[in-house]
Symmetry: C2
Subunit: 193 residues, 2 copies
DNA sequence: GTATTTACCTAAAGTCTTTAGGCAAATACA
DNA sequence: TGTATTTGCCTAAAGACTTTAGGTAAATAC
């Protein structure tokens, strides 16, 4: 009996690929076992259960995304950094829709706190150093940017903007222009309607 | 044998409640049958399959949300309208997390085109009449607002902002201030970094 | 070279989905 | 009002995924 050489990490990687092919919520322990030509029960030595597998894929995607973002930020500042950072999210979502969906998985607080999601927030904060924001406005802005990237990716893969003018690419560029303008001119005092 | 009096709409409503209780992706035909004290197979006369049920719940949530938004917009304009509209999304997500998740379900293009999602976009566009935006900027702005509401709701229910200062409520208010400022001062020409 | 650990296996029970075909209640209609 | 049709819910059954328990052989330790 030749062993397959499974490891949690190997299963996670394969799960991420599977997610990109069939969609994150179609990822199943059974299908993974099939791909490794191994019986289903065997995977349960490496992964606690189906939920655990999905969480691992999510964490993997967050790491991968944070690595790419860190790369993109190197040597950039200001709008240049903002655009590069934002494009990482967008490109990742297009290139790896399943992993991107995984990165949006709801994690329980401790898991989230130990995830690369923290690095994402730190990098977003770093970008804001190119703008004149003090606390708590910086935090508000971090959350706004997170929402936009998250939300845009979700709507785009949900087909929200496809097949309608203007084209999604143009909107993306203009949204980044708008966010840059907003960050340069962040309203510190609530405006009265 | 007393009949249960099932209808697609009844099942959809019950499914929406179930989603709020256990989470949208835990909604199952079996559990629904159990709640109506009816055999599982019976539901298949009213609903094509599990996916169909979920789609119906999503469409129901979109309608409900659009109705609330329309109500909130009545008699309001400018920032007042923007805030009221945004709060509808936020409150809905807090009150009905399962339905809100359903409203984010990926629908196929035709279904989406026939859904209340169209009304949402129209209402967003109506809000922008309170600001000085011409096409294609209005469309870009509609998409930005959609992304922010979508994304913020997702991050908030994912626990992204909980247990950290400043409080999510404050961020929400300040983000709306920021969006209002942005819409009043939308950059028509790409800025150079 | 034996002992222990580890990787994968078989077996089995539980859940959910979905289809096929049947009987009885509701409804239509003479 | 009595018969005919439709419709709603049922039983039965097959297929897929999850998960646990306990076994055997391969890898590793010493």
């Amino acid at each position: 009996m030749v062993r397959a050489g499974l490891t949690p990490h190997l299963l996670t990687r394969a799960g991420a690929e599977l997610a990109d092919e069939v969609g994150f919520d179609q990822v199943t322990v059974s299908e993974l076992a099939r791909r490794f030509d191994v019986k289903v029960a065997s995977l349960y030595s490496h992964v606690r259960n189906s939920q655990d597998l999905k969480t691992r894929i999510a964490l993997f995607a967050l790491e991968e995304l944070a690595d790419r973002a860190a790369d993109a930020l190197a040597g950039r500042a200001g709008k240049d950094a903002l655009v590069a950072f934002a494009n990482v999210y967008r490109d990742y979502g297009r290139e790896h829709p399943g992993r991107a969906a995984a990165a949006r998985l709801r994690l329980d607080p401790e898991t989230a706190a130990a995830s690369a999601g923290v690095r994402h927030a730190q990098m977003t904060r770093a970008i804001l150093r190119g703008y004149d924001l003090t606390e708590p406005d910086a935090t508000h802005a971090v959350r706004l940017l997170g929402s936009v990237f998250h939300g845009y990716a979700g709507l785009e893969t949900a087909g929200g903007f496809s097949h309608s003018a203007p084209d999604s690419e143009e909107t993306w560029v203009r949204i980044l222009d708008a966010l840059d303008a907003l960050l340069r001119n962040w309203p510190t005092e609530p405006t009265t309607p």
